[in-house]
Amino acid sequence: MTDPLVRLENLTVRFDERPVVDRVNLAIHRGDIITIIGPNGAGKTTLIKAVLGIQKVSAGHVSLKKNLVIGYVPQHLTLEATLPVSVKRFMLLSGQSIAECESALARTGVGHLLHASVHHLSGGEKQRLLLARALARKPDLLVLDEPAQGVDINGQASLYDLIRELRDDLNCGVIMISHDLHLVMAATDKVICLNQHVCCSGYPADISHDPAFIETFGRPVAESLAVYHHHHNHSHDLHGDVVEGGHTECDHAHH
């Protein structure tokens, strides 16, 4: 494979001598979608910030590919009520041309909101606006911090679909934090379960069987994910039972 976009080597970040991110190794390549999951306080956001270059690293290395353009989608866009900004103005602040901005907005499905005030957008629309802003920069790497927060269930699924599509369009790498375990498992190539250190990582199907994962999230979660993942790759019969390997063509068809 070609050189990775980002390579983390033994990345360690300590706050007051307490390691928040502990010796993490990770490489992100073009076309990857890597999702970081983990309990609160596991260092997910700190890890992302280290990748973004806005978090001081205590030990280890973050090496970025030369001239790497990063598109960042923060968790929230909380705008001070006193600051009036339209969607158009907010997009233009990225320094891109109006044509680029408009096409990015159209791509994320909020093109019709060009002249709206950012204050009047719903949670889902704000996330799509932030995604459009990242997109307008034509990033090599998309970094998303809980992109689906404050978005309803249907919106979440389509947001993750959109992220996949963008990955295909741009041929960029994607790294994101998510709490939406079910959706993550279905939409991701690789999952990293972080609890200060990387407690386990791999493909969604494998990770849900990993003892370390089960220990972190508990057996019920792991089992439900394992079932859910089968649901996507394989099939259920009409009673909702998982049809194990060797299922018939018919089972596939009703997917």
Partner: protein, 270 residues
């Protein structure tokens, strides 16, 4: 030029020209004060200006320079202290604002030879504006406007979303520093107009009035400048005709404009 000379010889015109010059920069900087919730911070810097004046007499440097340096030092101290997080920022600001004001007053009382017009410093002495003051005002205003124009995108972006700005390569910390320097400069020159106790009003009220009508940051800045002009010219006229103190009259005019705009805009909306 004789016409300009004639205008500048008249104290009323000097006051008006000076006041308009301050409103020109109070507009955009006031918007940042409002956007970044720095009202109390501005107040603290303004209060420390009096300490700056006392110190300038003590070591005999020009007043404006002394005020600017004191404001800058205090601003830096505030940034450093707020990082330690042992005290909440508003507590810290409250302590420093009033301590700086009190230390300034005490220091001045130790210098009986120095005759300062305390009321003028606290509430402004616009009508005593000299040609030299005008030079300071317009020099400072030109510097601030150029800086704002050059740094506008970065300043605005780091105000909207600091982390996003940082990822996009905006030097957020450096811009914060530049913004502090600009505040210090505007306080040093605005002190003459409305005095240290009322400077924050001149920054905040026009910007807040503009917020009600504006839909974009740049329009809000332009409107804030406009409301600043209205406040200065209205306040000076009031002072001229009714013999009221100039500084407070300007703030009262700004406040009346604020009430009118919010009252009228409220009616339109419902």
């Amino acid at each position: 030029m004789p016409i300009i000379d004639a205008v500048l010889d008249d104290f009323f015109w000097r006051a008006l020209i000076g006041g308009l010059g301050v409103a020109l920069v109070a507009g955009p900087l006031g918007c940042f004060v409002v956007w970044r919730r720095m009202a109390y911070f501005g107040d603290t810097l303004a209060h420390s200006a009096l300490l700056g004046i006392a110190l300038s007499f003590l070591i005999s440097v020009p007043l404006n320079l002394g005020v600017i340096i004191t404001c800058v030092v205090l601003a830096m101290a505030l940034v450093l202290l707020s990082r330690t997080r042992t005290l909440a920022t508003d507590t810290l600001l409250g302590i420093l604002a009033h301590s700086a004001l009190a230390i300034g007053l005490v220091t001045l009382s130790f210098m009986p030879d120095v005759r300062v017009d305390l009321t003028g410093l606290l509430f402004g002495d616009l009508l005593a504006m000299s040609r030299n003051d005008l030079l300071w005002i317009y020099g400072g205003a030109a510097l601030i406007l150029v800086l704002l124009a050059v740094l506008w995108r970065g300043l605005l972006m780091s105000t909207i979303h600091e982390e996003l700005a940082r990822v996009e390569g905006v030097a957020v910390e450096r811009l914060r520093l530049v913004l502090m320097l600009m505040f210090s400069l505007v306080i040093a020159v605005a002190m003459k107009i409305v005095g240290v106790l009322l400077i924050t009003a001149l920054l905040i009220i026009p910007a807040a009035t503009a917020r009600r009508l504006a839909h974009n940051p740049e329009i809000m800045v332009a409107m804030a400048i406009g409301f600043g002009f209205i406040a200065v010219s209205g306040g000076l006229s009031l002072s001229w005709h009714l013999d009221t103190p100039a500084g407070p009259s300007i703030v009262v005019t700004a406040f009346v404009a604020f009430l009118l705009v919010y009252g009228a805009a409220g009616k339109v909306r419902t």
